[in-house]
Symmetry: C2
Subunit: 799 residues, 2 copies
């Protein structure tokens, strides 16, 4: 098994290139991998290769390299938990260096820090808003150009015949644009595929996902999403904004860019996981805020996904970033629309204003809304199941970049063809009013002064289509048009999500829902012909949109708020909430939400809010990994190097122990040290003997650790001579002297609560004399989940 996993796993790649560490023998005998737990030792082989949305390989540089060693068909299993992912360290390492720095800092110093946190959040909001603005304007200009060209072409050929040339033009144009988007994603930065929401969810949950917050990812994301939307795919530009905001936050808060090799020497205090994650929360919120004009929704999104511990000041800062982001977008868009200062375009998507008496709802409509919620839940579950199968298919057969690119082009061509066919064969002509809102009214075979109604839905950016469905006068669409549109768009959107392009699923979901919701409204109005006021189709379109979106993504409180903020009217708060709840309950009965499905397919060790309810019979003893590789407080350099070089274990945290008396009594816990810290110590050769001989040696400072963060070099890149191997290292000053511990009899829910509430990475299990018994990490807790038949345990896999 080891042979095969080597081809795809991160740790084995490091091993291959690790010529430096070659000479170091594996001395430490206490290493026994917990993999022996796996019943599938010699049997079936589970591994996950290059997946569609989250790519796991850290350092692939050339394409040949990544293709060479990959088996043709990659089996997968969502009942696995990948060992490849590391946790973020949300717990401060309160070692002596840190405490000294904190103690030296004055009251004023803390105040300055606080102010710079606000400044950073303001910057995050501003830049995120700018990016959203850029995407919006470029998409609008390019899409406008494209539709104009195609429209003129269609109009030219409508009368003379030969519309197939128009179709060809449209399909080729779309495919070409999508190809560009797919190439940059598939070949340069596969992690930029999809909406990015699952990745950000994982990051906020505390999982380190390689390359997810890099500048390159941001660039690919931004240009990728422009290409997908302009290319006419059934996608939205909103989801990627959340990812973009997160990247901006990670970049700005660190005050440097490793990609650009620039260090601005600012915000150095924030160079650790704790602070960085807080800022990334703010960035994600700013992204939501820019996308939907929903600052409160953004804050709630970040908190729902990320917050392990609600902190009021943090919440305020997140809110500030969100507000600035909306405001920036708003302002620049108002300038672009030549109405400077008119701040009424709060987000990328704007549902328009629901006003007047026709929008009020009545008590007897509540059951109707709930029924629509149930439909949304069912359709959402269907969508998710179809997409699940599709994703598995993609993982197995469409994992090469060129295949991915071709699939994306195929989808683009098919989308154009289907749209064209639908428009061509529909004969739903509507009169073109004097102040019509349609951007590109297609006349086609309609009489003069009329336009093809099906074309409004297809021949437009999805955002505009949603708005038309919400606000157009009753009678604008006929039921058949809406029904056909729902059907085709449903499958197109389902096929599109998961392609190797940057794209969101929010808008397609809303569009599908708005279409069938409006259909419901029209049908209801036609059944009870007495009053057509109450069944305002726009209102039902909104409810349908909420139901469909809720059925697919299953986000909860934040989604309600986002929808309410996007409609700009709180009147619909209650019905939207009821609909979303119904959709969630119905949908959850069948299958999980779309994002959760994709997270599960990546075997990410995602921690939910609570331990499974029926897990009280498990204790820390059964859950923990043991035996643990411990280090002594004063340890031989050779042993440390060997421990770190041991690729079969690849541990990241090591309890530091102290021997009390003699060898027979086990050692007592006195601290915890991380691999990254040891690497820095080794790199700077902080050895006891050196300190004695060369008095000039500089004392290691916190700054050295911060400079190395977050891309610590691998152990193989550090050269340690044979002489140095005999030196000793004193870890006292650098280890965290007060790691959180639990007794071995602690029940799993209790361990889980401690771990989750404090955002830990390592939790030491001790006996009643404070001796190290085991170590609990994220994987040990994420393994247990509640299945159909009670508590289930996922298997761990070295992929």
């Amino acid at each position: 098994m080891a042979n095969i996993t080597k081809k795809v796993s991160w740790s084995s790649r490091a091993d291959e290139s690790g010529a430096v560490g070659e000479g170091t023998p594996l001395l430490n005998g206490s290493e026994q991998r917990r993999l022996s737990r796996q019943p599938s030792e010699g049997g079936s082989i589970f591994q996950i290769g290059r997946l569609s949305t989250v790519d796991l390989e850290e350092e692939i540089t050339s394409e040949e390299d990544s293709l060479a060693g990959r088996p043709k068909e990659i089996p997968h299993n969502e009942k696995l938990l990948s060992l490849k992912y590391e946790s973020l360290d949300y717990d401060n390492i309160e070692n002596q260096l840190f405490l000294e720095e904190e103690r030296r800092m004055s009251h004023m110093g803390f105040r300055c820090l606080e102010i710079s946190r606000w400044v950073v959040c303001g910057l995050i909001g501003f830049l995120t808003g700018l990016i959203a603005c850029f995407i919006d304007i470029v998409v609008e200009e390019l899409a406008g150009f494209k539709y104009q060209v195609v429209k003129e072409n269609i109009e030219k050929f409508t009368e003379v015949g030969g519309l197939s040339i128009s179709l060809l033009l449209w399909a080729v144009l779309n495919s070409a644009i999508v190809m560009v988007g797919a190439i940059i994603v598939a070949f340069f930065e596969p992690i930029a595929a999809g909406s990015g929401i699952p990745q950000i969810k994982c990051y906020l949950n505390g999982i380190k996902i390689p390359r997810v917050v890099r500048l390159k990812t941001l660039l690919v994301k931004v240009f990728g999403v422009i290409c997908s939307v302009v290319g006419g795919l059934a996608v939205g530009k909103e989801g990627p904004m959340i990812h973009s905001g997160a990247v901006v936050a990670a970049g700005v808060s660190q005050g440097r860019s490793t990609s650009l090799k620039r260090d601005f020497k600012i915000f150095e205090y924030f160079r650790r996981d704790t602070e960085k994650r807080d800022f990334v929360s703010a960035g994600a919120a700013a992204g939501v805020s820019a996308a939907f004009g929903a600052p409160v929704g953004g804050v709630l999104f970040s908190l729902e996904e990320g917050a392990s511990f609600w902190n009021q000041m943090l919440t305020w800062r997140i809110f500030f970033a969100s507000m600035i982001s909306t405001f920036t977008l708003n302002f620049f868009l108002s300038v672009y629309h030549q109405k400077p200062g008119d701040l009424s375009n709060p987000g990328l998507i704007n549902f328009g204003r629901f006003q007047g008496d026709s929008v009020a709802y009545n008590l007897y409509e509540i059951p109707l809304f709930i029924a629509m919620g149930a439909i949304g839940g069912l359709l959402g579950a269907l969508f998710n199941v179809l997409n699940y199968w599709l994703t598995i298919f993609r993982i197995r057969y469409v994992h090469r970049p060129c295949l991915q690119m071709m699939e994306a082009m195929l989808v683009a061509a098919v989308t154009a063809t289907v749209s064209f066919t639908m428009i061509y064969f529909s004969n739903d002509c509507q009169p073109l009013g004097p102040e019509h809102t349609e951007e590109y009214p297609l006349q086609l075979f309609c009489a003069d002064g009329e336009y093809n109604s099906m074309a409004t839905a297809f021949f437009n950016t999805p955002e505009r289509s949603v708005r038309s469905l919400f606000h157009n006068q009753p009678g604008t669409y006929n039921p058949l048009t809406l029904g056909l549109f729902t059907l085709t768009y449903f499958f197109l959107a389902c096929w599109t999500y998961g392609l190797a392009v940057s794209a969101g699923v929010f808008i397609p979901s809303l569009l599908i829902g708005a279409a069938w919701g409006r259909l419901c409204g029209i049908l209801l109005a036609s059944i009870t012909s007495t009053s057509s006021i109450w069944a305002d189709p726009g209102k039902y379109a909104l409810i349908g949109a909420a139901a469909q979106l809720g059925g697919i993504v299953r986000m909860t409180l934040s989604l309600t708020v986002i929808m309410v903020e996007a409609t700009g009217n709180v009147t619909y708060g209650l019905p939207i909430m009821l609909v979303l709840m119904t959709a969630k309950i119905v949908g959850d009965y069948f299958v999980e939400g779309l994002y959760d499905i994709h997270i599960k397919l990546q075997s990410v060790p995602f921690l939910h809010w609570e331990a499974p309810a029926t897990s009280h019979w498990l204790t820390a003893r059964e859950v923990m990994s043991s035996p643990v590789t411990c280090l002594n407080r004063i340890e031989k350099v050779g042993k440390i190097v060997d421990t770190l070089s041991n690729t079969s274990t690849n541990h990241n945290g090591f309890p530091v122990v102290v021997q009390v008396s003699g060898n027979d009594e086990p050692a007592k816990l006195c601290g915890l040290i991380l691999r990254s810290q040891l690497i820095v110590l080794l790199k700077h050769k902080v050895f006891v003997e050196l300190a004695r001989s060369r008095l000039t040696q500089r004392k290691l400072q916190l700054k050295d650790f911060r400079d190395a963060y977050p891309r610590f070099p691998p152990i193989q890149s550090i050269h340690v001579s044979q002489d140095e191997r005999e030196c000793m290292m004193d870890l006292t000053e650098f280890m965290n002297p007060t790691p959180y511990t639990v007794p071995q009899d602690t029940s799993l829910p209790r361990v889980f609560k401690l771990f989750r509430a404090l955002g830990l990475r390592h939790l030491v299990v001790v006996d009643d004399e404070n001796r190290v018994i085991g170590l609990v990490t994220r994987k040990d807790l994420a393994r247990y989940h509640l299945g159909k038949h009670g508590l289930e345990e996922l298997q761990l896999a070295q992929t």
Copy 2:
């Protein structure tokens, strides 16, 4: 000192009546009170008696009793921390009994529990909505009746002269109504005074405040608030809704009422602090939701004040309760207003709809808004400082119920007189339009077809006045009227808050702010006479209201959302947020928020979000209380009784230790047991000898603990014979075997984070061999706070 504190403190009262425990000698020699830390040992005596809003005495039954022993002038000091308050136990006691029960429970059982949680939340929402509805209707009817009577009287005497009779009628009527309200509050349930928000904040923070969630409190609160509002005080009926919702939640979730002596034998699983506090969060949210029609704001309020750990399912349930509450209120009010099914009255206060183009704001107005926020912050700080001094005066001199009643009546009479004088001397006559919105237009000395504009502001319930200020046409009020109104109402409201009546401060704040905000709008429009559209006075009234409210209460994110939801329009989100933020920053520079001031004046050990920034140099060793009274795993009954009876310590949690070998080695920690558990054990006489001799004795179950919750009997009521004192008790089964511990070198921020994130009550400090060194409780952490000159330490007081 002990002698004097005995007169007012809870523990000493128990001691006086504790004839049963008299014979028990104080054996345990290890008791040394941490009070010796207090430098004021023999010097100044700090104590807090019957305070205005939070009454601390548990069992006062007769008035004489409470009056007799009280010194005439009670000194106070907000640099004290009362030892009287206990923490709630948000940490589950995972003892053997609990784990057995959990392990017996099937997957289905947990699902049923979850469903019943939802049912309880639904009930909470429904009942809270009903109460809000009841208050609203009764206030509307009674106030309508009162204003009708006075109006007729005034109209009668306007022409014949002798308006002083009208004044007298008005003043007497108001005073009489307020007297009733003050009597029930001051004599029957002093904790029902005020808005109740500080008390609920404390409860959600994890502090046990006696009697705060009892049925009697609810009744007094509801009738008290009706009397205050009808009595024409400068108060609102919104704040008390939050308290009411919390009481409803505590009552419903326990499935019984101790006041009514009814036990419905349902929801027994929820009879512990953990579950109860979750439901109280939901109740508070439902209260906010009913008061302001702001379900999302309610959820955020609960989370901001209460959540130590964000849990998604809990948040959903809270949201559900909020929604049901708004919906119930909405529905019943629609029936009352004879428009059944029209769900457009979401809350008690309704700001009306801001619609149309005139509400849009422009970029250049942002600085104006910020300036208004600063004014709001200044005025708010002034309000708070005045109220602070007033409260201190009240604590010192106005602590007898009859004095409190008389003060309330005086305020009522003065309010009526001032209002009357203002109306009388104003000559701001406005034409009475055909579709005028004024409920009680007073003609007075105006021409026919006109009405006195000052009267609209004073001669009305405050809610209506706010709405008039927001929505009346430009030109309805003249600047002088508004200026005078602001001035008088400011001082009236300031005087009123803190009276012994149930009343909220939200509406008065909004009213003051709306008045000066509208004034600002008018002045701005008159300065730049070119365009009167942009300075729509209603818009500026809204901004002013937000600024003033923010300046006084300083609630943050939730307040923004509440304001946005109450206006029913998200357009104002950004300006409201900017205004609230400015108001908070400016206000915080001078003085804390009103609720925080009142909490501080009660010396409540309130835990903030984080430890003070500069407290890294403190460690658990310096913070903890020691020595700790420990119990052995198998302990003599006599010792337990003596420990519990020791009134000088009154500990609530006892580490359980086990002696390893011989006496010389200190004992190791093996668990933690609570006073309440020991009391139940003693009551059921769970002694080892008894178990051996009488085999029939029933095994103690979790149910026995739940039945005793939350009013555990005092130790004095439990009779233990001399024979029984020699028996042994085995605590193994009942203690929490895995209490959270920290090493003694842990820094204060780290201890704080653990304590706060998990909602602990006791945190055991151990050495590196797991021996008990000390115990950290809430008071030990709340003592440290950041003052003007760096870290300050509050003193502890036995009051």
